[in-house]
Symmetry: C2
Subunit: 320 residues, 2 copies
Amino acid sequence: MSKYAIGIDIGGTNTVIGVVNEEGKVVEHSSLPTPKDPDVSKYIDQLSTVINSLALTLEANFDGAKVAGIGIGAPNANFYTGSIEEAPNLAFEGVVPLVALLKEKVAYDNITLTNDANAAAIGEMIYGGAKGMKNFVMITLGTGLGSGIVVNGELVYGADGFAGEIGHTTIIPDGRDCGCGHNGHLEAYCSAPGIKRTCFELLAHTNDTESELANVSFNEMTSKMVFDAAENGDKVAIEAFNETGAILGEALANTTHHLSPEAIFLFGGPTAAGDHIFKPTKEAFENSLLPMFKGKIKILKSELESGSAAIVGASALVWG
Amino acid sequence: MSKYAIGIDIGGTNTVIGVVNEEGKVVEHSSLPTPKDPDVSKYIDQLSTVINSLALTLEANFDGAKVAGIGIGAPNANFYTGSIEEAPNLAFEGVVPLVALLKEKVAYDNITLTNDANAAAIGEMIYGGAKGMKNFVMITLGTGLGSGIVVNGELVYGADGFAGEIGHTTIIPDGRDCGCGHNGHLEAYCSAPGIKRTCFELLAHTNDTESELANVSFNEMTSKMVFDAAENGDKVAIEAFNETGAILGEALANTTHHLSPEAIFLFGGPTAAGDHIFKPTKEAFENSLLPMFKGKIKILKSELESGSAAIVGASALVWG
């Protein structure tokens, strides 16, 4: 009998559901739109239908295959309560007891919910570059900056299940507006929109009309465009990555001074920029460390595949 | 048979050694000067003589009393290796394998070494206000700002034994010189010298010749004087505590966004200022938290007695 885990990634737009084997490979997958209205029960009906049908297909296709449980990654998810709480990017209102609702509709008792970055950290530990590591930090760069912290081989949930909000640590006092309503948070600088904002700050500061980024509107610009521009030698784009790395490196030193990890993994779209982002990050990181940490802590690219990482990470909760 | 632990606090000037019972009460104590020269073996001889003589006195005074082990708190101490490594405030050079050296001279095998703030955290958990807590942070305010982090009921040492250096997280980019050689670290603002520095900044800024602090030189001023001035309604002193609390509160929110603790304990001289320091700290803390943390995390004064906390905390390593 071989065991499989179902991984679910609830995003702002889509919910992706995958069946993952013990090696972290997705063998079946499906998706449905995350609702735009607060009707949770209809969504749970749809989600459980997809889960049950994927499980049936699995059992039909693989002899003796069995689903061992379900892991779910979602924004503002609380591991302890199994609820999504006051998620600003989802249409659901208040506290949604997702795990309890789902248990009523599917035949599995092993259902675990956590936030997406925590799920990615577990995924990295079980299937990725953090295999065998007991102390590491996962940083997910995307629309925001998420984080998952592993100490002594265990994910840190903290007293109330919400640990790992490094994106909302203050890095520049009275700095940029952050989506959470505060100012100067790491996420407002080191994320896909943060990189774009840095480009616009640089264009404003330098008045560099020659930059290829000077021809793109704020709403059109993507971090992929900034990466392409940097590859073409565009000064604004290169400086934007340098400034992003300088801030990220200092922030990762702050995290290191809390936790003394063995490695810090970076995951997500902006990491595709490779050395453009890793080089200044590592440089600022080393410069910001106390002597006893210098040269000891690895900053690594996540080894999870970008396309399937969210469901693979979530599925790893079943084994983690 | 009743069990006792020996707690040792190695400070820059003195080494204090105490025999502590299982309730955290010091029943015997002694001290010797921490050497001003790098001769470790002479120091180990002296230290082991004191330990052995305290143990003999204990056994003579208390029927059936037995020393269960030794816990040591020291700057730049590495829990994993049992060594003091490159401590800038001690005369010892390089790496001193303190635990190994001591084991050669005393009859105890259970000898544990960690840094002073970690020892205080264990002390708070075993004897103080953190009894029963699984996730909390200890902040020690003194010449510097030390910290000990407890996650899932265990002290966090991290990959290399040096976790808990929150005092060296950057809080004001390009800010004040820190003793470690970097700039803008929390310790340069929120510590006894940090409070004094803020007073001098405020005197420079306001030109307030009426302040009682305007009559004291930089080298003469203590945080006790600032506290007394604040009690007398001195504007500079009150504002210095307000600014210290504003920075400390924001820093503790950064720590909370990493770890989601149940409580944060403050220990050390400056906490004697009571509301002068706690009120602005709590206010800035709450203002800096993400909504899901607001109103949930307690900022508390340590319940360890200031005089004996260091040896009591160190002794708790034996049980912790």
